[in-house]
């Protein structure tokens, strides 16, 4: 899947927009940091999460961390195939590893997210530390 139209957060989530629906997931950098993902606690259907709120929890063998909502919205769909195959997040973080879809509360929030090249630079700066 092409990443050039995605928006990115400093906490290594991505959002892709289609009309007023945003799809969320974690980036390739994030899945690499995790190592083999073994479990994900998906967001609750119908629940509203604010921008930056912890909406999912991801576990690998050596780490556990929250996924934060890149923009505010109400959850309309979750990727339940991840329940039996969480490794999809590692294999296709931007494709079959998507986590959930939300109906955006305020599309203007997208403006504060990074585009692909800004995110790539950001990742470089994080790795250099």
């Amino acid at each position: 899947m092409s990443t050039k139209d995605l928006k990115f957060t400093e906490k290594h989530e991505w959002a892709s927009v289609n009309g007023n629906i945003a799809t969320f997931g974690i980036t390739d950098y994030a899945q690499h940091q995790f190592g083999d993902i073994v479990f994900i606690e998906l967001p609750a259907m119908g629940k509203s999460y604010g921008k930056g709120a912890a909406c999912a929890n991801i576990e690998s063998v050596k780490a556990v961390a929250d996924m934060y909502a890149p923009v505010s919205g109400e959850v309309t769909e979750v990727n339940s195939s991840l329940e039996n195959a969480p490794e999809q997040i590692n294999k296709e973080p931007y494709g079959a590893g998507w986590v959930c879809k939300v109906k955006m509360a305020d599309a203007a929030e997208l403006d504060s997210l990074m585009d692909e090249s800004a995110y790539e630079n950001y990742v470089k700066s994080v790795e250099e530390k």
Partner: protein, 484 residues
């Protein structure tokens, strides 16, 4: 022939097999006063084995285990020293085996043992009093933090935050949060220690305590400790010293003299009680004189030659464990200290530190040492420049009959290899370890894939931890009912 895992005992189980020898029942069944609906009908699939099968099962399981008695265990911050056998003999004597609610005039010997250990620990650490009740280091941390919180609350100055260095063991923040505190992580400097200026930057009237391990998890003595204590006390905050690394300076310095208000010790580390595959341990907590009245019950006192026990404290019971603590572990620690005596106690830390520095000197040409400060009883290398991962080096060590060092801790060192030899290792063992490390690093350069595939000679090869976490088989079930 390579050792193999025995079949699970449930698969060997057969109706009618017996492993125990019981006397014939003397009381008739019809005396049962419980109604049938309160009684269990069966324990489904519970094993039934003969004695010889049980012996073979566990004897073969034993063959699969490495242990301190079998070889070197240089695990950093674990102090895997030798477990003296005289400690086992004495601890297992029937004289101590009383019910914990025995009237105290019948168990004065047991109370003397506990009080004697308390008093010895007080002398070694310069703390005003000890409780021997916590069952492990983490349990001690929780207890010690509660003492701090009770003390500050009683002063009307409750405070909310505990400061913890970035090199700390995970139990430190976990224990703090369980005591209702918020934690703030503060960075060590480029030499691996805490600077007074850094502390001052984070210090305010909301800080209840600083929790510091000394020497820290890099094996480096926190040399600013006295000034750190002074700055904390001036601010109305307390100093908690995690004593997991006490083996580095037992008999040489005392935490109380360095300014600690609360410490915990690990009897299963510094005091040579056996690790048992993960416990039991014992985590005595020592406190300064202002905090003594906040210690949990039971509290042992003596008047002349008679020992008494208090089950109530003026500040509330604060009980954190059933009965008296891990008493039989306490017995072992006391035997150990009495065997060491004043003549040998200092040599423990001196040899532990000498051994660690010898390894450091010999391996420094081969491995990256991120913090160049003086090492005490342990040394931490990183994986910088290695052609394989720290994990791979560790797994290859297993092929040479050596238990690996601690890996990936502390978190502030990339691919950390934390090596603590302890004082109970001979120079031959150290030299052997050094030679093997050099060999493995050489193997890694010449044939990384080979090292990455290690171990080869252990009863099982590298285990799939991802599979374990995904399929989550945490118990045996008969084949028909096992769902994963």
């Amino acid at each position: 022939m390579k050792k193999q895992l025995p079949e699970l005992m449930f698969l060997k189980s057969r109706d009618g097999k017996e492993g125990c020898s019981l006397s014939a029942p003397e009381i008739a069944d019809d005396l049962c006063i419980l109604a049938a609906d309160k009684l269990r009908k069966d324990i489904a699939d519970f094993p039934q084995l003969s004695e010889v099968e049980i012996v073979r099962h566990y004897t073969n399981l034993a063959h699969l285990n490495h242990s301190v008695d079998a070889g070197f265990y240089p695990l950093g911050s674990c102090t895997m020293k030798y477990n003296p056998k005289i400690n086992e003999k004495i601890a297992n004597q029937p004289e101590w085996n009383a019910h914990p609610y025995s009237p105290i005039h019948l168990v004065q010997g047991n109370l003397e043992i506990m009080k004697s250990l308390e008093e010895l620990l007080m002398k070694i650490t310069a703390m005003a009093a000890f409780t021997l009740t916590p069952a492990a280091g983490a349990h001690g941390e929780l207890t010690g933090l509660r003492v701090i919180r009770d003390y500050l609350t009683a002063k009307g100055d409750a405070r909310k935050i505990v400061l913890i260095p970035d090199s700390a063991h995970g139990t430190n923040p976990a224990s703090s949060v369980l005591c209702g505190y918020q934690t703030k992580e503060i960075p060590s400097n480029e030499n691996g220690i805490l600077e007074v200026e850094t502390l001052k930057k984070h210090l305010d009237k909301d800080v209840a305590a600083l929790m510091i391990t000394n020497p820290n998890t890099l094996g480096i003595f926190e040399k600013n400790i006295v000034e750190i204590a002074r700055v904390l006390h001036e601010n109305g905050s307390l100093l908690y010293m995690d004593g997991a690394n006490m083996n580095a300076f037992m008999g040489i310095a005392k935490p109380g003299d360095l300014g600690a208000d609360v410490i915990h010790l690990n009897l299963h580390k510094t005091f040579a009680t056996p690790h048992g595959g993960g416990g039991p341990g014992s985590g005595p907590v020592g406190v300064g004189k202002d905090l003594v009245k906040f210690l949990p019950v039971p509290i042992i006192t003596h008047q002349g030659k008679e020992y008494k026990v208090r089950y109530h404290n003026e500040t509330g019971s604060n009980r954190i464990k059933n009965f008296y603590g891990n008493f039989l572990v306490i017995v072992r620690a006391l035997v150990y200290l009495l065997e060491l005596g004043k003549e040998n106690i200092r040599q423990v830390a001196e040899d532990a530190v000498l051994n660690a520095n010898y390894i450091r000197k010999k391996l420094e040409p081969y491995l990256d040492l991120p913090y160049k400060s003086k090492s005490l009883h342990e040394v931490v290398f990183s994986d910088k420049g290695l052609t394989v991962k720290t994990l791979d080096v560790a797994k290859r060590l297993l092929d040479y009959g050596i238990h690996p060092f601690t890996i990936y801790f502390p978190l502030i060192v990339h691919g950390a290899m934390m090596i603590e030899p302890t004082e109970t290792e001979s120079k031959e063992t150290l030299d052997q370890f050094i030679d093997i490390m050099i060999k493995i690093l050489d193997e890694a350069k010449k044939d990384p894939a080979f090292v990455q595939g290690a171990p080869y000679s252990t009863p099982v090869t590298r285990l799939d931890e991802v599979l374990a976490a995904k399929q989550l088989i945490l118990r045996w079930k008969p084949a028909a009912t096992q769902t994963n």
